[in-house]
Subunit: 478 residues, 2 copies
């Protein structure tokens, strides 16, 4: 049955909630007295629509209907989930909850996006206190899965299972506490960051770099304790904490009350960590961590952003030269198979063979002048046909080398035959893994249609054609 | 000219430094009195060798020579970079530096991995104080690029340029301060986390989830201030901080001294943020953030880890059913093109067409019983040939649909013809984008050789063959 969500208070958070519900097939009714609300929410929805559906390998869009309500009453009537995201003033929230409860279904879930208030504060004076709970999300709500849930156990359990259908993770708190969990950390870091800026130790840029080039990437995949568990190594979490203990009395951060790290607390942390991660050995965790970090770093490299921009620069500086003897088969690529290229069979996915040949083709394109600058100028080559014949598997960590022979380089056409080999220790070609007969056509990026290359490129193509077509056909092709 | 690094003190950090230098072509000499040092460093190197080279699209390994020295003198003689990673005791570090400076070249760089001490403390009593500086890396040193550099400007500038050749980012501090920058944040969070555990508010698992499902992923790509700049929206960073200000006086984190957020500090932060990120509009930053988050989340999904495991579960739950009418061309895939599938031409990379056909082929495999459980049982299909013909471009955000016709399903052979189309609004096939003639062979995952499928699968294949080969050939194939 179709469900309905009511969003009270638009803005970035309310809009993010609206997108989550809407793109998972819920009907959504929004109430916000701001005359700009419709425009602002429209912008959040635009962002959500261009990113959320791309998270899935399937088409998950089954969009619900969005409408704007002129009153809280109109928005919440008949709604199954009501989400309050009004400004952080308790008196205002009390008024909004009173109005919501006057018109909502008795079994509606009433969540608050508050980042600071405890449910007991929100519930003051409510007609049905148990119905109101904290559902604190993280911006952008349409992409990040975390929602902190605080309230009556029966209510938060129900909320958690609804959130699961939206692809979100409800983290149910054991006790209510100001600012829940995550924002306590954010506040601690924020205060320390303000000190560093005020004291002239670091700028905003330097602080962001200190986070995103280092522990930020670790935390994205393991958080705090699992990261330390791995760092502690075989000696174990207990040993690690005991060692870390003394640091707490050092005068690093600004004045802060310090918990006494007595045996009971050490024991508590160590046993919780065992329960959390004890199914993996430290060695396994190290490899999972490294595979995750390689995946994140390679992803950011493709976006040329943060730590990925550092990698991209490094790659530009370490790029090998082009093959210089065009009278021989061309060595167009040498690399290691990365972990993010594998599939459920445990070997390199078939599509990544295509990636290898695409990259090998790029080397030849660069040789005839189709450089990044040339492409930026509006001309390029598009692939029109690949015949890929798979001979052997390859696995992450293996080194490969590609030998390419140009079969035709005339007019708009560039046809190549690539052989992908496992590389021997000296880099020379070993086992044949795959071949590709690849046809590229010179195109205008403006018209997106084929066109003749200019005289410079035509001359380079002619020379390559002349030298390469004299060579005997590769053995695997005969 | 070949460079040499001396690593004084092995362990996880020293071993990580050794790997960085070694895999970038430096010779490395290690001294550590621990009889287990060689084994421990060997383990770190094993991890580094399986992950660091995979960061690059080129073969960057040009491994140097590793040796173990029996004394500090032997290790540092002739070394260009000497890295101290001994335990965090100042008296011990002073002794080590005295011995290093007795034997090191005058122009050697002498870095310390200390996470807490200031260079002025390290330099006490040194023969050449300016030579000694803080070079604080982050574990795993062979993957994370950040190194905090603190010391004489001339020395740290030189160190920064060496680190660049190792693919690392030297963050030079303006002033020395206990624990530099990043570890001050780590300590603030660590203390708060200890309180939460001690007070029974959260477990280690819950704290890690609160980080890695939410702000941890944000920080991996933008850090703290750029994230808040985006959250602040068009109203600007100044407005955002002024609003955030009052929260600082709320009793969230445990007792901590609070900087006064006066006009001067607000102005300082706002102008630093403008300098850092002002070249992008908030809308541009939002889209960069979202593209980064989608990339990280999709990467983690492929690893089935952290927020990626939540996505993977969601995907399993939302997986569409299989085509049920085998007497018609089969609709084997419907999806949106994600941002991480694009290349320098701005459209979907040619290799990702292969990914689409690989996934479409999986649907047919599942229809004849080659399910994940079947594959886990040791049998599968491998692709042996793809003829891919590219007709049209596709761009991120576009919806596509694949129509597949089985050309042969007999014995070990499964041959399919896939048509990839842009999807119309109702999901029906629009423009033809690409075709693929794909041959799969049934294999044993034990022998990695072809083998006949069992009678159940053979019967399903026969039915599919019978129904599909009656159909007229697809128009694009004629």
């Amino acid at each position: 049955m179709k469900k309905t969500a009511a969003i009270i208070g638009g803005g970035v958070i309310g809009g993010g909630w609206a997108a989550r519900f809407l793109l998972n097939g819920w009907d959504v009714k929004i109430h916000d007295p701001d005359p700009e609300a419709e425009r602002k929410i429209g912008e959040v929805l635009d962002n959500a629509k261009r990113s959320l559906p791309a998270l899935s390998e399937n088409m998950i869009i089954k969009e619900g209907t969005l409408s704007f309500a002129t009153s809280i009453a109109q928005a919440v009537t008949g709604a199954d989930w009501i989400q309050e995201s009004v400004p952080e003033r308790l008196d205002l929230k009390h008024k909004v909850f009173a109005e919501i409860q006057k018109h909502a279904k008795d079994d509606a879930l009433i969540g608050s996006s508050t980042s600071g208030f405890k449910p007991s504060q929100l519930q003051e004076g409510a007609t049905d206190a148990a119905q109101i709970f904290v559902a604190h999300p993280f911006n952008p709500v349409y992409l990040l899965p975390l929602v902190e849930l605080v309230g009556e156990p029966a209510t938060t359990a129900q909320a958690k299972s609804v959130l699961e259908t939206l692809g979100m993770h409800g983290l149910v708190l054991r006790k209510e506490i100001d600012a829940h969990i995550a924002d306590r950390f954010l506040e601690a870091v924020w205060r320390e960051a303000l000190w560093l800026i005020k004291d002239g130790v670091a700028t905003t840029q330097e602080i962001d770099d200190a986070i995103r080039y280092g522990f930020g990437i670790r935390w994205a995949q393991m958080g705090l304790f699992e990261t330390y568990r791995v760092a502690g190594g075989e000696a174990g979490m207990k040993h690690f904490i005991e060692q870390f203990g003394p640091c707490l009395s050092w005068p690093w951060t600004k004045l802060m009350d310090v918990p006494e790290l007595d045996d009971a607390l050490v024991e508590k942390i160590a046993s919780q960590s065992d329960e959390q991660s004890g199914q993996y050995s430290i060695r396994e965790l190290e490899r999972k961590r490294d595979d995750n970090l390689v995946t994140i770093l390679r992803g950011l490299k493709a976006r040329n952003w943060a730590a990925g921009a550092i990698l991209a620069d490094y790659e530009t500086r370490t790029k090998p030269g082009l093959p210089n003897d065009i009278a021989k088969p061309l060595n167009t690529l040498n690399r290691v198979i990365p972990i993010d290229w594998t599939d459920y069979n445990g070997h390199m996915n078939e599509s990544r063979y295509g990636q290898v040949f695409s990259d090998a083709g790029d080397t030849v394109m660069t040789m005839i002048g189709a450089t990044p600058e040339y492409i930026a100028g509006g001309l390029s080559f598009f692939t029109v046909e690949n015949l890929i014949q798979f001979r052997n598997e390859t696995h992450p960590g293996e080194r490969i080398t590609v030998i390419t022979q140009v079969l035709q380089a005339e007019g708009k056409k560039l046809r190549m035959y690539h052989e992908m080999h496992r590389a021997n220790d000296d880099g020379s070609p070993g086992d044949l893994l795959c071949t590709c007969n690849q046809l590229l056509i010179h195109v205008s990026l403006e018209t997106r249609r084929s066109c003749e290359p200019g005289p410079d490129m035509a001359a380079k193509m002619a020379a390559l054609h002349e030298a390469q077509t004299r060579l005997p056909k590769p053995e695997s092709m005969r």
